[in-house]
């Protein structure tokens, strides 16, 4: 049975073996619905996750990397040559941005329903994450952090098209938050 509302099957123009394979793949991705219709039980290996799960996993990894980058920078700002007041203001700004990213990461992870027996997606643990970040363990400069924020924001907005509505809204909101970190950090640098 092919579900009438199945997006992958309905949108496909493929014929022959390729189309049959696609229909089977999409059918196995709907075990609960099939069981309800026909009493068929799907056994064996879990189906490949749909594309939006891959997008979500990538977003989780990106967010974990941002957290790692801020942890590395907040550990290194003591040598930035700032006066005590300026250092305090910048440290507060970095801590605020880090807090935002930790909240982003938690919300993204909460949207991921991993099949039983699979490890949760986030490969990075915030506690020891600094060494795994880009830049060979060297803390990014503030300018690099701002660039990373803008790039992360753009990436999230570019991935909206095929996401479920609720996840698209979360991506859009996080993208907006990350964009605002750019002027926020710039202002903290100036003062």
């Amino acid at each position: 049975m092919v579900m009438a509302g199945d997006r992958a099957a309905a949108g496909s123009e493929a014929t022959g073996p390729a189309r049959r394979a696609l229909l089977i793949a999409s059918a196995t991705a709907l075990p609960i619905v099939l069981s309800a219709c026909n009493g068929i039980k799907v056994l064996g290996a879990p189906p490949a996750p749909p594309a939006d799960v891959g997008t979500l996993r990538t977003a989780i990894d990106d967010e974990a990397e941002l957290v790692a980058n801020y942890l590395a920078v907040t550990g290194a700002t003591g040598s930035a040559g700032l006066g005590a007041d300026a250092h305090g203001r910048m440290a507060a700004a970095l801590a605020a941005v880090l807090s935002d990213h930790r909240q982003h990461l938690a919300q993204l992870k909460s949207r991921l329903v991993a099949p039983a027996g699979r490890q949760p997606a986030a490969a990075h643990s915030p506690a020891g994450a600094g060494a795994g970040s880009r830049g060979s363990g060297v803390a990014m400069t503030l300018a690099q952090l701002e660039q990373a924020e803008q790039a992360a924001s753009d990436r999230l907005i570019a991935q909206l098209a095929h996401l479920p509505a609720g996840l698209a809204q979360l991506f859009a909101s996080i993208a907006a938050s990350e964009a605002t970190h750019v002027p926020y950090l710039r202002a903290a640098r100036r003062h």
């Binding site: 605020a96 941005v97 807090s99 935002d100 909240q103 982003h104 938690a106 919300q107 909460s110 949207r111 924001s153 907005i157 909206l160 098209a161 509505a165 609720g166 698209a168 809204q169 979360l170 991506f171 859009a172 909101s173 996080i174 993208a175 907006a176 938050s177 964009a179 605002t180 970190h181 002027p183 926020y184 202002a187």
Partner: protein, 148 residues
């Protein structure tokens, strides 16, 4: 009109209503900021952004065969707006509401409107940041929609 079209129109009208309210609200914001100040110039620039967005949304609604709901003659302010600090707070409230309204567009399946919604959530969040002086973790998202 199909259900899908009605859903699109409803979301566009929500965004339009938020833009109309923001356009009115920025008039109040500007009036309470020091004459000729940089902040007043910022309020003017933000007001113009909302006017442009309002016109774009009206056009999108018209293109889909519906009539844009006209703006109200006047709007009740969320609180007193007598001082520059209260004017800044109003600007923040206006932008937060605009961001929330555009998230309705992001929930639509049409990729062009979804993208427009996301771009405008980001633009509103950036304007809010300028008035607030700080960033928010989830612009436009009602706290109840967040998990945990």
């Amino acid at each position: 009109m199909t259900n899908a079209t009605a859903t699109v129109i409803a979301a566009l009208q929500i965004a339009l209503a938020a833009e109309q309210a923001a356009g009115y609200g920025y008039g109040v914001v500007g009036a309470r900021l020091p004459q000729g100040s940089a902040e007043q110039a910022l309020a003017t620039a933000d007001w113009m952004a909302h006017v442009r967005a309002r016109d774009q949304l009206s056009q999108l609604i018209t293109d889909r065969g519906a009539n844009p709901v006209p703006a109200a003659v006047a709007y009740r302010m969320p609180g007193p707006v007598r001082t520059p600090a209260e004017a800044r707070a109003l600007a923040v409230t206006l932008e937060d509401r605009v961001a929330g309204a555009y998230l309705e567009l992001v929930a639509l399946p049409e990729s062009g409107l979804r993208s427009l919604g996301a771009t405008q959530v980001r633009a509103a969040a950036l304007r809010a940041e300028a008035w607030r002086g700080s960033a928010q973790a989830f612009p436009g998202m009602p706290p109840a929609s967040l998990r945990g």
